[in-house]
């Protein structure tokens, strides 16, 4: 019974390879064309979502960056980027004044949180752009892990 189950499971895994290979071939190996260029773009590097920026790009901006840590206070207090301001949905009311105190119009604001596309950074970016009308606000691709691995 166990042997049969494992044998059948292996057969299912092999069968699933067929449509997966076709799907993968269509999506990843398409001959270059106008639409295929977009399809092929994301196989090389994780694509940027709206408002995201890579660590390499931020590094080119030099000192004109204000870091915003959108993780929990506990994680912020344990470790954070130098001069980063704590700001997330939970502490918005108490921390937004500190953020404004540090912010200068020529600064690019770069927000990081835990995940590669974690929601906290995007939520803070939305509030900064919509409520405070700050335009150059970005979410760091890869979040805290990307900052650590810079």
């Amino acid at each position: 019974m166990i042997a049969r189950g494992l044998r059948e499971a292996a057969l299912l895994a092999a069968l699933a390879l067929v449509p997966a290979l076709v799907s993968g071939a269509v999506q990843l190996q398409w001959k270059p064309s106008k639409t295929a260029a977009t399809r092929m773009e994301w196989r090389k590097e994780e694509p940027l979502q709206e408002g995201e920026v890579r660590m390499a790009t931020v590094q080119m901006w030099g000192d004109k960056v204000l870091w915003v840590d959108a993780r929990s206070r506990q994680k912020y207090e344990a470790e954070h980027a130098p001069d980063a301001v704590l700001l997330n949905e939970d502490v918005w009311e108490t921390q937004v004044a500190e953020f404004l105190n540090e912010w200068e119009p020529e600064y690019a604001v770069v927000i990081y949180c835990d995940g590669a596309t974690c929601d906290a950074s995007h939520a803070v970016r939305k509030r900064l752009t919509e409520e405070l009308q700050i335009t150059n606000v970005y979410v760091l691709k890869g979040g805290w892990a990307a900052w650590q691995g810079r």
Partner: protein, 152 residues
């Protein structure tokens, strides 16, 4: 008789659930395009795989879910489908637990693209229940198989 009806409902219900979960990871019905990239990002959020591995998993796993779901519904390669889905669910529970332990703020990617942050206890609870139901179906199949071999 009642037990058989319950087992059939469970088999078809769970099979249908996996077919649905697989299809929405293959095709995004909201945008009318491939959902592979979005699912790869969801996998990447767990921070357990490289980007290349996330793409490979995002292309392969949905088809495996669909095929295993179909196998459950149509009762073909049935034992294998149960074993495969038990393994997939166990791996998913382990990945969820790992993300929870690391305090990651993610969406689970269970049913395609989602902006809703995962509620870890709830999601792990649901999957443990699913694991138990799959285990029950496998146990029933083993019992049936033993009974049939005794009659032979």
């Amino acid at each position: 008789m009642a037990g058989q009806i319950v087992a059939t409902l469970l088999r078809v219900g769970i099979g249908g659930l996996f077919i649905f979960a697989g299809v929405v990871k293959i095709w995004d019905f909201d945008t009318g395009g491939s959902a592979t990239q979005a699912f790869a990002l969801e996998i990447q959020n767990y921070q357990l795989t490289t980007w290349t591995a996330s793409i490979v998993a995002a292309i392969y796993l949905p088809w495996l879910e669909v095929l295993a779901g179909l196998a459950l519904v149509f009762r073909r390669l049935y034992t294998g489908a149960l074993v495969m889905l038990l393994a997939l669910d166990a791996v998913f529970i382990a990945a969820l637990s790992s993300a929870w332990a690391r305090g990651l703020d993610i969406s689970c990617g269970c049913f395609g693209r989602s902006d809703i942050q995962v509620n870890y206890p709830e999601k792990i609870g649901q999957n443990v229940l699913l694991l138990a139901l799959l285990g029950l179906l496998l146990w029933l199949e083993c019992r049936k198989s033993r009974h049939a071999s005794r009659l032979d």
